[in-house]
Amino acid sequence: MAKRAAPEVNAGSMADIAFLLLIFFLVTTTIPKDSGINRKLPPIDDSEVEPPIIKQKNIFTVLLNKNDQLLVEDENMKIKDLRQAAVEFLDNGGDGSCTYCKGAKDPASSDNPDKAIISLKNSRETSYAAYIAVQNELVAAYNILRNRRALEIGPQKGFRDMNFIEMQNNHKDVRWIGNKEKLKEVIDQIKLEIPQKLSEVVE
């Protein structure tokens, strides 16, 4: 029998089929947003232990009222100024025990980052968007200080030009080549030196 060439398949409609599928996936797709601000809630404390007395100067009060207005340390403030104000408060180093602080050393402000507490008070009618904005600014203030500290002590430990955020990302990244245990030590040290102390109250 004579060898017959296999008939060629008409692929002209392939594009149409592919378009159909493409449009289906375009419509159904939702690119997931899986990032956000991580927080840890305080555990419920039933014990009758007297809470330690905290000096007023070590507390940075941020009040967000039901109209989303901001009152910081009893003064009206715009949200864009909050980050800088929080940095100045945390970085003050009033009692001189904090060697890495570069603040004003104002005796009327916080003693050191370990004692400094930010107290965030919001009303039930505060909008969530405003609350997130304030949370974001406060986290940013901590991150600014931690990044600065990371750039200071990083080079001594062999992690050059890496700020705190990059250190954390590298620690999580499985493809990162480097001494992870040492990196973890540096991260823990920074976390210990500049702890996030954020207390929240709902009015």
Binding site: M14, A18, T29, N38, N122, R124, A129, Y131, N136
Partner: protein, 159 residues
């Protein structure tokens, strides 16, 4: 007459569309890979606020989602104030504890302590309901939470 016709014929050659399916397939594969089917239908409005100090949620640990927002179009009969959606139904604040319990039971035991509760809250919601949910989470000792946000300048949240 024929003189003019000839000229027109020799003009533009047709565009070759042979590689069109390849391009379309490329796009198709991208969307197929990037897509994630919603596990349950969303019954509340869910426009997330934006922030710029965000961390990526780690997928290797279990995550439970709690949606909060006002009922979306088609669910107006549930009112116009923000409500909680757990799985695929509206829930009361008191049910949050049970929901977390059920989520924990469904997870492998060694992963339970790493359970993160991701709060997907509409930006128009009030803090009252969010605070109530947070209090419930504290009661069941689910302390790792994440406020899910888009990325952008947080100052845009407040008008």
């Amino acid at each position: 007459m024929s003189k003019f016709k000839k000229k027109k014929d020799g003009g533009l050659a047709p565009i070759n569309t042979a590689s069109l399916p390849d391009i379309v397939f490329m796009l198709l594969f991208f969307f197929m890979v990037a897509t994630e089917m919603r596990p349950d239908t969303l019954m509340v409005q869910n426009k997330l606020p934006v922030a710029d100090q965000i961390e990526k949620l780690e997928k290797k640990y279990p995550i439970s989602y709690i949606h909060i927002g006002k009922p979306s179009v088609g669910y107006e009969k549930y009112g116009s104030v923000a409500r909680i959606q757990l799985n695929d139904k509206f829930a009361d604040v008191s049910e949050v504890g049970n929901f977390i319990g059920a989520e924990r039971l469904a997870e492998r035991e060694e992963l339970v302590p790493y359970l993160t509760v991701s709060l997907k809250v509409d930006k128009e919601a009030n803090m009252g309901i969010v605070g109530d949910v947070k209090q419930e989470l504290r009661k069941v000792n689910a302390l790792k939470i994440n406020y899910m946000t888009g990325s952008g300048d947080a100052l845009n949240n407040i008008k």
